[in-house]
Every structure is written in C-alpha cells, then in structure tokens.
Amino acid sequence: MDERVVIEFQDFSFQYFSQAEPTLNRINLKIYRGEKILIVGPSGSGKSTLGHCLNGLIPFAYKGDMRGSLKINGVETREQNIFKLSKMVGTVLQDTDAQFVGLTAGEDIAFALENDNVPTAEMRERVKKAAAMVDMQNLLGSSPFELSGGQKQRVSLAGVMIDDVDILLFDEPLANLDPATGKAAIEIIDELHKKSQKTIIIIEHRLEDALHRGIDRVILINDGRIIADKNPHDLVSSPLLTENGIREPLYVTALKYAGVKVASDMRPGHIATLQVDRAREALAAWYNAIPLERREYAKPSVLKMENVSFSYDGLRPVLNDINFDIREGEMVSIVGRNGAGKSTLSKLLCGFEKEDRGAIFYKGENIREKSIKERAEIIGLVMQNPNQMISKPMIRDEVALGLRLRNIPEEQITGRVEKALNICGLSPFKDWPISALSFGQKKRVTIASILALEPKILILDEPTAGQDFRHYTEIMEFLVEINKLDVTIILITHDMHLMLEYTPRAIVLSGGRMIADTTASMALTDSRVIEEANLKETSLFQLSRLSGIEGGARFVQGFIDYERRLKAR
C-alpha cells in the first residue's frame, strides 16, 4: 500500500437510518500526506456527512448503513472508535460557541488533555505552547464572552492541535465570521499548513473566500457523489461550479460577462494568481459599454435617526450620534464588525431600548413614546435563526400569533394570515406542521408572521447566514419581491455579496459611530471603511486594478448594474 496515502475511500456509501436515500454514494477518493484539500458542495450534497465519516461521528454517533471501505492511516475507521480517530483527525467545528466548552480559553485548549488524564503541570506547559501557535497565549484567562468569533475559532484550533493530530478537518470555518476575520482564518490555516506539513481538509461552500490562499485540490460534491476532483484553476474554468449550485468567484463572473473565455492557463483559481493580459481589452470594452445609472430617491422619508446616542451602562457609549434618513421602499444594509452597535441599533428601532439622546422619526413623527407592541406594527424584526421565534407547531397558528395576541377578531385574522402566507409563497403548506419545513421555509414562516402585522419597515438580522448559494438567492429574491410591495427593508449583515447585489445603500458602523452612508460599491472599495468595519475588498475591485481600469468603485457599480439588468431580462 502507498505510504503517502492518509485517507482512502473505496466504493464508500453511507445511508442514515432516518433517510430513504444514501447520503454518500460510491465515493472513491485518496488524500495524500501533507495535502491541502477543499471540499465544496451545496447544502445537502453530503459534504458534512463526508466530514463526519472522517472524524468518526459516523458511525459512532450517527447510525446508519455503511458500505465499502474508508481507511485512515491504513486502518478501517469502523474498526476504531471515536476516541482513537480523534487522535488522528482533529476537527474544528463551525459553531465556535458550541465547541468552546471551557469557562476560559486555557481550559478549553486543555480539554482533550484533561480527558487523557495528563497531569496538571504538564498540561499547563502544553497549553501555553499550543496557544502560542495561534497567537492566543496572552488571552488564556479570557472567558468566551470576552473573545471575538475569530479568537474563539483560534482557541478551537489550539484545542485540537494540542493533541498533535495528523489531519486537521475544518467544517465550514467561514460560516460565523465577518469577511476580514474569515480572510484571517484562511491565512492562519495556510501558515499552519506550511509550518506543520499536516494534512488539511476544509469543508466550505464559500469557494472564493476559501480560495484566498493556495489549495492543492478542490473536491466538488453533489447528491452524495464526487463531481470533480481538480486543482482550483481547472475547476474554476469549468462550468461545473454553477451547474452544481456553487457560486464561482465574482471576478470570474465579471470576466465571463466581458465575453472572456476563462481557461486554466489564466490561472483563475485565485485572484492572486490570475493572469489578465488576454482579457484586458475585453474587460475595458465591456465596462465602458455599461450605461451609468442614476438613482435618486424622491420618495418621502420613512425612518430617520437624528443625533441618536445610547449606552447600556451610562458610561460606555454603544451608539454615538447616529444620523440617517431612510426613504420609503429602500433596501439598505447596516454593516460593521461584531460589537459595532448594529444589533443595538435595531433594538432602539424596535423600542426594546430607548435612546439616551436624539430622536427616531417614523414618517416625520417622533416614536419615542410608542411601546414595543405599537412599534411592531410599524417596524417588524426578523431574528437570525427562525427557531428563535417559532413557538407554535402549526404554520397557520404561528403566523396568526401576533394577531391573536392583539385580540383581533378571528374572522379578520384568517384573511390577514392567508394574505401573509400568500405573499410568502406558503399557501400550499398552510396546514403543515412547521417541523416538516426546510430552514428557508421556516425563515419565510417567521417573515410571514411579522408581515401579518403589516409593518411598513422590516429589519432582518443576517437573513442568509449559513445558507448556500441557491438558498441565499431564494431568500434574497423573495425579499426583493416583498420590497416591491413598498415595504422598506433594512438588513443587518456582514455578507458582502448580499450588500453588493441587493442593497444599493450601505450604512457602516464602527465603534458605535456611523463611518459611512453610501453605496455598497463605494463602501467595499474604500480602504478606510473596509478596515474599520472588518470588511474585505471585493475581488471585483482587485480585478479592475489588475486590468488597469481606473475608478474601481465605478467598475464594481457597473458590474452590479449589468447583473441586475441581466436578471431583470
């Protein structure tokens, strides 16, 4: 047997006992020592199941029918146990809060050693070393509430590295991070790979972000089968990504719009390696042909914040002198890093907290004295996870809840519920239990339950978090439809695609101050805003620079306008 092979799937299939179909179907795959592999696929493709097979959650925690062979370091996984496998494969989960089980960073890093009965003194030494690898040695005493998402992820990483595993498995490492932190995470993984020569497997659906640094091979999975096993350049040049519901890098889309045939000799796998010489002229010609759109909002103001400041403890301001004016029917995103004040802002709008200074106006009227319940009839809030709101088993009852709590006569309720369900495309499901719905459908239920109260403004907190391209598009197109009904939509997000494609206007917060109120294309090309708000420069901007096109922000805007017109056709 080949010594260099660390992982080998042979005709491997797996079917969960609860499922009618196999989730993985005749997988054949070899991974060699020291390789860096990216596994991509849409939701439900089987990519997470593949990860579970590697770390032993399958078959030891999730039961099912396993066929064929999976060997790690030459031994069949089913003949091992989860503890032995965890000594070979270290897993960093996407939910950093769930993985962080210690009360402090130090304890969490030590967790595996504690379970191995390592003496306390030795443990302290090893924790220090592991923490130093991810630059966390000075924060060992911090509790998870004092750490950012990126820092928590580094703690998780140190916690698996401490066991000196051969293989590191990252399960959607970008899912819960803001763009800049996600970028940093990919860099840390890359440096670790270069230093330690460990085998690295990253499972992600955000291809462009994951390709921020070099990858040896990308494995594309869909419907439980391996669709492609190629280097990034070959894969990105092929039509397979879009066919299988993975979003190709934005700069590749732009090249295609410009009529450039993207081939692997242009090395398009990473923006850093891309050769644009051949495409320069076509790009410039395409860009110059895009007519400049002028957008003016002549509509009246619907929501206005004037000099609003707020602090929880009366000492540290969480929001400081915020001013903006949103007009009827706008779609706006509010962006900024964690702790910038985004969620506090939405709390003020909903009346959960009261501004210390300044005022909030709805259609010119100060709404300070309106109660939470009254505000909900103007401004509806949809929380990030639909399960945070759903409290009834049946769809119809969930949507009717807000109306029933307002003692509206039952005859009226039926009509309003039907209407909300109709708008949300849920009418065929109205008598279903909510548990039978997908995540996206549940999201629609929560939106319907808010729309039933007929608010004029809808605030959504990270509406597409954790969704793959298809579901993301579904949710966002649906919001566009609602927006067309003259509902103003405010999105709290750090998804840059979302900002670019769907919200013409972005309000950027940093440290409780508003640092920009501009177009999304301006925000994502302004280095000061990008840095302060933990955003990332869009690759479209980099593309324009590479190909010598002046005025990057206009290029980005041109791309957005072009794409919108394409969709509208």
Binding site: A20, P393, P428, F429, K430, D431, W432, P433, S435, A436
Partner: protein, 185 residues
Amino acid sequence: MKDHFKVNTRTIVATGLGAAIFTLLFMYVKVPSPVPETSFQTAYGLSAFFATLFGPIAGALIAFIGHALSDALQYGSPWWSWVIASGVSGFIFGFAYKRTKVEEGEFKTRDIVTFNVIQAIGNVVAWVVVAPVLDILIYQEPVNLVFTQGITAAIMNTISAGVIGTLLLIAYAATRAKKGSLSKG
C-alpha cells in the same frame, strides 16, 4: 430499566444546559397565581420535560444543580432540604423516560396520563415527604409548618410541571412528526 441510568456525553450536556435553563427560570420566570404573593415555578415543567427525554440522572441533576445555583445567587447559600427535594422530584420525573412515545412523535392521552401520574408522584414524594422530613432533621422546623408548606408546594409544582411539562412534550412530539407523509393542500 437498566438504560434509565446510562449516562453518555449527550446526557451530561443536556444536564448542564438543562440546569442553566432551570436556574434562569427558577429565578426569573414565575407564573403569578391567583393567590397573591404566590407563583408557579415554571422550572419544574422544564425539569419534568428534560427528565422525560433524558432519564432520571439528568432530571435529578438538573433540578439539584439548578435549584442550588439559584439559591446561592439569590440568598448566598442553598437551602439544602429543598434543593435535595428538588433533586428527588427530578429523579422521579425521570421514570417517564422511555415510557411514552414522545420520541416517535406521539404524545396522546395515554402518554399524557402516564407522564402526569409520574410527575405527580414525584412532586408528592419530594414535597410532602423529603422536604419536610429534611427540614425537621436539618433545621428542626415545626412539624405542622413544614408539612403545610410541603403540601402547598406539592400542589403548586404538580400544576406547574403538569401544565408546562405536558405542553412542552406535546410541542416536542410535533417536531418529531414523520416527514414525507404530508401533501400540499
């Protein structure tokens, strides 16, 4: 019966999180009763629910840890006789584990009766027997006082565990409904 007492990682995690919620509910989420100055502890509905899903060990620890922690946070020190009684109630609630079809998505009359008989027994044993006896042994409280308190607590907590626990289990069963048997209407 044997696997009633089996403890795996899932049981431990459910216990830890359950006790955190128990503490929270015990301190903040009380349903005011029609009698002034008294309220129903929703926490016992939670411990009954978790005990039914995870067994007597989880049930006992959730109520014991949760009650001790909330006493400590509010009074500075746990009132041991009642903390132990809480633990006993959670333990007995755990005998509903695997006695109902809630995991298969069904929680109908028969299951509701089974659950409520068990939780009522748990509450009576804990509050009419364990708590008063410990109050007398540890604190030498007057006998008629502790039994009156115990009977009141038993009634209140039976109602609370009954209403909240039953409704939670019905809601839980609904999330376990079999998929694929539905058609668009």
